[in-house]
């Protein structure tokens, strides 16, 4: 078994040696061993690869001179595995570049020959190449969704494929068919080197990629990896120039955030109509929406005239399902009706997948948009700051979601952030929410990260700063995170703020002053998602 990571690796040669090349996926639970050898701030993918090599005892590794992180991975691995080779991969593909790469492949073959004490036959190699070429598939791009950006884990690609009916083409380092057009036999390896360099270029290559990707796909899902900087440029560029549905996700190769990623992908498909829901006629009766969030579970029940007849908000316990049952029961009781009176139930939120009695699952993005627009149809931007994450959703004139952004993983700028800080300050979150207006000194918290901000707060306390001023500073910090999310999709009013933090007048005021506009705050900002779900249950469609 030979481990490799890059699509430019000459895997066919390894196969011709009779060995099995295995692409290292790098998913892992912790970076404990990797971080003993590599600085914490190295790209998560590389740390994951290192962790996997150690854990699975991979003895032979082939890398390419892809990026600074991979180069350092090589340096670290050099004396730790039995065979390691880093291929010098040029960034251009002119004849001189082909020369460099061709010589490099020959050197690699020699090195591997010497290590394995065996070689390979040309016939063997040719056969492998031919087999691959025959798998040539052509797919019309206008009917496909392209996955671009940094490498994406196979299971995520699989899940994307399963959540929609259109064709998905994976252009990241992990995708792409290997097609070879090799001409004469006497120049076999050179031809092979050239055709490898001619694969669709990744961001590392010198070639301008826009000519490949500015054609009309049905939509683009763009992946970036934390600490990998290559792709954000292309994302920034494409974002301002493309006018097809476009979704950015950030993955980090730990397993922890795939739930959030799938939510985004689902919401994207819902918003772009790629995941069609069957249209149903509205029925009589009552309709419920259950929003199973990470901090609270909320239920809204509406009647056939879309009147909210009851709702409930309870903290989400360790088991999402139990909390959902409980919240549902409370709402039913409040409304004075029985479960059998409910015609249809839609679930949303993180826990939506674990609610068996719901008829349908819709992401909180779509539901929030729906609920917000229902409350006030002038709203074009919804700022939802919940306990664990925050999002900004853009609506069009008809209330359809046309774009959205979510915070990445960390808790800065969420309800959780305020909670941590209230504990640091030694007051309750409710007391904290009451403080606003009276500011004596305009303090600014500079750290973006919750952990660092906490130490800043501690030092402010030590400096005897007024508690109200510290709270004001914290509110400003949450506000600036929220507004920077807004700026990522562009400003457009009216704004509505939803989620638990909307009850905090200090944060609301701070956001208003940054946006220079009043926010619409619904009477009960926490139930907007559940309301949207109930409306979808009523309409039988999410469109």
């Amino acid at each position: 078994m030979v481990g490799y990571v890059c699509k430019y690796t000459p895997v066919e040669i390894i196969e011709a040696f009779g060995e099995k090349p295995v692409r290292i996926e790098s998913g892992c639970k912790s970076y404990e061993r990797a971080e003993a050898l590599l600085h914490t701030n190295t790209c998560s993918f590389v740390k994951g690869v290192l962790e996997n090599i150690i854990e699975n005892n991979i003895e032979e590794v082939i890398l390419t001179s892809c990026c600074d992180s991979i180069k350092r991975l090589y340096d670290v691995l050099k004396d730790r595995v039995k065979f390691i080779y880093i291929l010098d991969l040029p960034r251009k593909k002119d004849t001189f570049a082909v020369d460099v790469f061709y010589k490099e492949i020959i050197k690699f073959i020699d090195a591997y020959k010497a290590f394995k004490k065996k070689g390979f036959t040309v016939e063997n190699f040719l056969k492998i190449l031919e087999d691959k070429s025959s798998f040539k598939k052509t797919q019309k791009s206008s009917e496909s969704i392209a996955i671009l950006g940094a490498r994406l884990k196979d299971d995520v690609v699989e899940k994307i494929k399963n959540s929609c009916s259109v064709n998905i083409i994976n252009f990241t380092c992990t995708g792409e068919d290997r097609i070879f057009n090799i001409e004469s036999e006497d120049n076999l390896l050179k031809g092979y080197a050239a055709s490898l360099l001619n694969l669709t270029p990744c961001m590392r290559m010198a070639e301008d990629r826009s000519k490949f990707f500015y054609k009309d796909f049905k939509g683009i899902i763009y992946n970036t990896i934390k600490f990998c900087d290559y792709y954000s440029y292309e994302y920034a560029e494409m974002k301002s120039q493309l006018n097809i549905p476009f979704l950015k996700i950030e993955t980090d190769y730990t397993d922890s955030n795939s739930g959030q990623i799938l939510t985004r992908i689902d919401a994207f498909f819902e918003a772009t109509d790629i995941k069609k829901m069957e249209q149903k006629k509205a029925k009589k009766g009552y309709f419920a929406g259950i929003d199973s969030g990470s901090t609270s579970t909320n239920v809204v029940i509406i009647d056939e005239n879309k009147n909210i007849i009851s709702y409930s908000i309870i903290p989400t316990g360790p088991k999402a399902l139990e909390s959902a049952f409980k919240a549902f029961e409370i709402a039913l009781n409040n409304a004075g009706i029985k479960e059998k009176d409910i015609t249809s139930i839609v679930a949303t939120g993180y826990g939506r997948v674990s609610i068996p009695f719901a008829e349908k699952m819709v992401t909180e993005i779509t539901c929030h948009g729906k609920g917000a627009f229902f409350i006030d149809n002038r709203v074009r931007t919804v700022i939802d700051i919940g306990g664990q994450d925050s999002k900004v959703i853009r609506l069009d004139e008809s209330g359809n979601v046309i774009d959205f952004v979510m915070n990445d993983k960390c808790s800065a700028g969420t309800g959780r952030f305020l909670e941590v800080m209230s504990r640091t300050l030694g007051i309750s979150i409710h007391e904290m929410a009451k403080v606003h207006a009276e500011v004596k000194e305009n303090i600014t918290i500079t750290s973006m990260c919750t952990v660092f901000a906490e130490s800043e707060v501690i030092s402010l306390i030590a400096q005897n700063k007024d508690q109200k001023d510290i709270i004001h500073a914290l509110n400003k910090s949450v506000a600036s995170k929220a507004v920077s999310l807004v700026d990522r999709i562009g400003r457009k009013g009216k704004y509505m703020m939803t989620g638990g933090v909307a009850k905090n007048q200090g944060v609301v005021t701070a956001i208003e002053s940054k946006l220079g506009e009043k926010l619409v705050i619904p009477a009960e900002p926490q139930i907007i998602g559940a309301l949207g779900a109930a409306l979808i249950a009523f309409e039988g469609t999410n469109g």
Binding site: K71, K78, D208, F452
Partner: protein, 416 residues
């Protein structure tokens, strides 16, 4: 420095008026230039004074004459620009100056709000931010290399597309070979063609040879300077070591830089014998970090005896075939290729200089350097030299944990 803060506030208030900012920045640089010309810092050597002036002037010149300037990164082969009389502006230096003007946070936030990764090196983010806000006048040309730093190719590609300015990317292979040299040489030839076309002038080969000759002479002086570091001490601030990057990289080959090293050699010859503890830095110095400033600037107790980035190439360039020679230099840079090469150079330098300690300031976002931290730590342990690494940012001051860093730095210095 309250004047600087005051000035930075004016700039920040006018961020929506790029023309005005551009003027303000040029004004700031002009003021700084006259300030250092008139008020010589008596604590430092003559060469410091000379170099400071030269660096500020070079930035000022390229900003004021965009029609005769090219944006480059620090590892670009500027010999060609010198021979063609084109003024290079290296983006890392520009960003450093913006940090000196206390406006880096604004520029970085701007870049990030456009979608640029927040983990990207802040030298690049600052520059991209300035470009987004249009406070930089567009140059005639851009030039970058793929070597050493991942950020270069995508940053320059992004800038060149935004500004619609021609860019030449020199792809420098990771390994040295006959083919690799031919590959780079060919690109240098192609690049010169592009330069000639854009700037409408012809490269005079003799002039290029002259530049290379001066560069070789300069390197001889650098090697001589290295031999003195073991026994002599120059009182310098951290900025000096960073200004030296102008001399060891972008402008090497110019007469002014040759003169600088002549002065430096004189200064070190006449400097007092070494006393106190000497610290060798790796890669970059956090010139805006107060903790470091307090300990190292003009300090007799703890002084800086160099940084490996200023000694990443110490050999001669082939004067007969300068294209080939420069190609070889690009590939053989100790920061290019395997870490082993860099480690060997660091070992050589340490044996020569015999510092009392080594500090690596792990600049956030710099994958190439932080990735090798533990390998260098191993080397230091083997050589029996105390080694400290600290995390932080050389540009974005918000990323520095001052309290934490101070404790660790002090503990390390106490240890020596």
């Amino acid at each position: 420095m309250d004047v600087v803060r005051f000035y930075s506030n004016i700039i920040k208030r006018n961020m929506d008026k790029p023309e005005k900012i551009n003027k303000l920045i040029n004004f700031g640089l002009a003021t700084a230039y006259y300030y250092v010309s008139i008020f010589k810092d008596k604590r430092g050597p003559n060469s410091l004074h000379y170099l400071t002036k030269y660096c500020i002037k070079s930035i000022k010149d390229s900003l004021e004459n965009p029609q005769n300037s090219a944006w480059v990164n620090i590892f670009s082969p500027c010999e060609f620009l010198i021979a063609l009389d084109i003024k290079p502006l290296f983006i890392e230096a520009y960003s450093s100056f913006m940090s000196g003007f206390f406006i880096e946070d604004y520029l970085i936030d701007t870049a990030e709000s456009r979608g640029i990764s927040n983990t990207l090196c802040s030298y690049h983010k600052t520059f991209i931010g300035a470009n987004e806000l249009k406070i930089l006048k567009k140059p005639e040309f851009m030039l970058t290399t793929s070597s050493i730093c991942d950020a270069n190719v995508p940053t320059f590609r992004y800038l060149s597309k935004k500004q619609n300015v021609p860019l030449y990317i020199i792809d420098v292979p990771y390994k040295y070979s006959k083919e690799a040299v031919a590959y780079v040489k060919n690109q240098l030839l192609e690049m010169v063609e592009k330069l000639e076309e854009v700037f409408k002038r012809k490269l005079d080969l003799d002039k290029l040879r002259e530049v290379v000759k001066i560069e070789n002479k300069t390197r001889t002086l650098i090697n001589k300077y290295l031999n003195y570091l073991k026994e002599k001490t120059l009182l310098i601030p951290m900025t000096f070591e960073m200004y030296m990057l102008f001399a060891s990289h972008i402008f090497i080959g110019s007469k002014e830089i040759l003169k600088f090293y002549e002065m430096l050699l004189d200064d070190i010859k006449n400097a007092p014998p070494r006393s106190g503890k000497s610290i060798f830095f790796l890669h970059l110095l956090p010139i805006f970090e107060k903790n470091f400033q307090d300990y190292f600037n003009f300090s007799n107790e703890f002084h800086i005896t160099g940084s490996d980035l200023n000694f990443d190439y110490l050999e001669e360039i082939d004067e007969k075939d300068p294209f080939r020679g420069i190609a070889a230099k690009l590939i053989l840079n100790t920061f290019n290729g395997e870490m082993e090469r860099k480690v060997t150079r660091i070992r050589e330098l340490i044996e020569k200089i015999k510092p009392d300690g080594i500090i690596q300031f792990c600049h956030l976002g710099c994958k190439q350097s932080i990735g090798g931290t533990f390998i260098i730590k191993e080397l230091a342990t083997k050589m029996g030299i105390p080694f400290l690494y600290l995390d932080g940012d050389c540009v974005d001051k918000r990323n520095n944990q001052m309290g934490q860093n101070r404790t660790r730095l002090e503990a390390f210095l106490e240890m020596l």
